[in-house]
Symmetry: C2
Subunit: 225 residues, 2 copies
């Protein structure tokens, strides 16, 4: 009958909406207050009528919610990475370039940055993100591309797994202004060092477009604080 409208419904016909609601609320609170200072009760209070039973019906623990939240955060990125991986018109090096460019473009117009959170006092969230980076992003997306580049001759490297890890670590964590609360200048310097490192590894993938996107991104983040 009145399934849409946001009114207090005894039961949602589309449980995925409830799951998403919980995830959205949890995301926001985890960012604002930090994971360990967000209680289940906090989440319930922002759920608009739903109760603890709803949460523990869809998630088995608070930690489980955290994993789902970070999963959702990296989901879009990983999807985009997959699309680039599957392209056949690019060699390895070109794919890497494309990934960096796309990552930055996406971040510029991303919701996350309008909230201006900080992972700095959020060990669990940061850790979960680190986990995603090392266990999924690096081995599933970056490493295969490096290996393709080694095969097609566009990339010269020796230890693709470790190289993929290091690059992912630098790009996703070290250079992420949400993790390290850097000024525009500091982020720029990091990017210059990053560029130099990649060049030293035979990966000359940082062009002017990537660089200008990077500066734009940092400025946005700074202004939103």
């Amino acid at each position: 009958m009145f399934e849409k409208g946001g009114e207090k419904l005894a039961r949602n016909k589309h449980p995925e909406e409830t799951v998403n609601l919980i995830l959205d609320v949890a995301s926001r609170l985890f960012m604002e207050k930090g994971y360990e200072h967000t209680s289940i009760q906090d989440i319930i209070n922002h759920l608009g009528g739903l109760s603890k039973g709803a949460i523990y019906h869809h998630f088995k623990s608070k930690e489980d919610i955290l994993y789902a939240v970070t999963d959702k955060m990296t989901e879009q990125s990983n999807q985009m990475f997959q699309v680039i991986c599957d392209r056949t018109d690019l060699n390895g090096k070109e794919k890497l370039e494309t990934m960096f460019r796309e990552s930055l473009n996406r971040s510029v117009q991303d919701d996350i940055f309008t909230v201006a959170p900080s992972f700095y006092n959020n060990p669990q969230l940061l850790f979960s993100l680190l986990h995603e980076t090392i266990e999924i992003s690096a081995p599933d997306y970056i490493q295969p591309i490096i290996e393709q580049g080694m095969a097609d001759g566009s990339i010269v490297a020796k230890h693709p797994k470790q190289l993929a890890e290091l690059i992912s670590l630098m790009a996703n964590l070290w250079m992420n202004p949400m993790v390290f609360d850097d000024s525009v200048e500091e982020t720029y310097s990091k990017f210059m060092v990053f560029d130099q490192v990649l060049k030293g590894l035979g990966l000359d993938i940082v062009d002017e477009e990537i660089l200008s996107r990077m500066q734009e991104l940092t400025t946005i983040y700074q202004n939103s604080k």
Copy 2:
């Protein structure tokens, strides 16, 4: 009268012994069970008679204990770094080399490795270590040395602060077998990539002694598990 002997004393004349006892017990438990799965009661149970009042007399919170623990963990390293920093017979590059060598030598005979802990499911401990690395180790010890090297001509670089951060991050976290549960081979590969990165940055400081120490260290760690 009987101030020494370990017997249950109503009051310890040397309170620092009590503080150290708490720190030692907490260290062990944090490593074994993880920070968030170690309760204050757990610590009390291993204190041999001391109570909750004792803990909260010396520390203002559980978090405070964590910070004291990581402080103690990096204290020795930092002291050694300071000594090397103060030497006048070495140029910047030589100091960096010495620091890496000494770090590895120290780790080989270190207590920590005999416990075979893992930071992997220990977000808070890992984070606290990251904090020490970025906020203290890098800016206070590595960065000044790089700047000295830039001044005396032994190091060619452009962004000493960021360079120091990146090097510290790689050395203290990424290549730390306690953080990432790598095999001997993987650690070796990481070290090779690390070496290549440093060479690309104009820092050719990894020699054969450092390399063999690294392998020794990883083997010790693997066997102790």
